[in-house]
Symmetry: C2
Subunit: 238 residues, 2 copies
Amino acid sequence: MSDEQSEAVRLLWGPHPKPKRGPKPALSLNRIAQAGIEIADAEGLAAVSMQRVAGLLGVTKMALYRYVPGKAELVAVMVDTAIGGAPPPNEPRRDWREQLGGWARHLSTVFHRHPWLLDATVGPRVIGPKELAWMEQALAALDNTGLTGAERMDAVVLLTGHVRGIALQARAAGPEGSPEAQLAATLGELMRAHGERYPALTAALASAAESGGQDEALEFGLHRILDGLGLLITQRTN
Amino acid sequence: MSDEQSEAVRLLWGPHPKPKRGPKPALSLNRIAQAGIEIADAEGLAAVSMQRVAGLLGVTKMALYRYVPGKAELVAVMVDTAIGGAPPPNEPRRDWREQLGGWARHLSTVFHRHPWLLDATVGPRVIGPKELAWMEQALAALDNTGLTGAERMDAVVLLTGHVRGIALQARAAGPEGSPEAQLAATLGELMRAHGERYPALTAALASAAESGGQDEALEFGLHRILDGLGLLITQRTN
DNA sequence: AATAATCAGTGTCTGGCGGACACAGTTTTT
DNA sequence: AAAAACTGTGTCCGCCAGACACTGATTATT
């Protein structure tokens, strides 16, 4: 049971036994994670290499391996650091709907601030304490709603999936610069060339264009999900 | 406008002008994509390298660059190939709800069959014709529902986000082998050690465990989403 | 105070990756 | 027959993650 996974667990969940002898460390896990986050925020997760991170810290790349067993674990720490503390605690006076809505919007801003979280959170991995705190928060909002444990879990998965999906398409559309224009133009060309094969898509795009797109995708899905949950909850509590 | 993006567009959308002189190609775009898919299905997207693909085809890696400008484009072709043809056309006798439900379940099986699609479809990229056909199909199901074009698009994004989210957690839980057991055991250990910090999570897990988890997450979210959409649609059509 | 143990950071090396480029061999056009 | 066009190969580069042996700094033990 002392495999590489438990290394990641110890790194994320502690304890961090500090050495008694030898020179004092010039770095810290937190500083390393911050450096990685800085690079990932600016240039994406692919730009995060041991060399880059080490260079940013004025150190050789091999020095990082004194703090982190490998790149995967570094990314894991980056994720849990970037996710940050959970949102302010649920106020009991608000109902589950307001709480979950606020939670999802808050999570959405996190994904917007650190788009590389999308890349870093695909695939099996060890979850960190702050990430788990997010899930705890959402689950707590669903207390006393009559939902079973499995249903509460499924509801949270549903919400996070939506937030992720929105972040995904937000990145595909591009923030503002050239990639957006190019990709959008490319799609426009495609539709002009092959539009007859996709009539419903053509119609939807035209309709969306004339009504002035204002990116309500997050709110739209959120309202649908919360409405659907509401139906189930009233059905359970009556 | 003859950048590298248009290369990918030409590759995915044609036309494919075939040369008149020179030796006949030993490979084809399709065979290369199939080889890549085979590797990705078996060992994940990370195992797909030019060398591996070329080796599987009995060829040097540089030969692949005669068919594909780079690895990103190869992955794009793999994606559009693996997604496969759209599901059988919508039967007009079924209502939007049945159509969208079937569509989402069908899409879910695709993600289950090719888990690496999750990795391959993060980040800005050129969309392929088959992928667009999937979107077309879902949009067509929402014709005559009173929803605006933007709303129809948002609804499809919501559905795909959910299917992706389910595929994501399905992979995190592991198919059957050791990673599942290890990760689940790890989570169990964490909960045992830090459970008091996550009371709602502890309660939900306990409740889910005793009711016998049977992985209804896909259906749960699907029903909530369709219920929520149903509310909006009846509101619009009345 | 001297020695031994421990630990931080470095330098060097390996194998694998994507990809640029020049080249040889094959096929078709002129 | 010659030239043009095209396919697949061999070689090279820079970057990557990581293994390993090492130097030098710091502290506990004697």
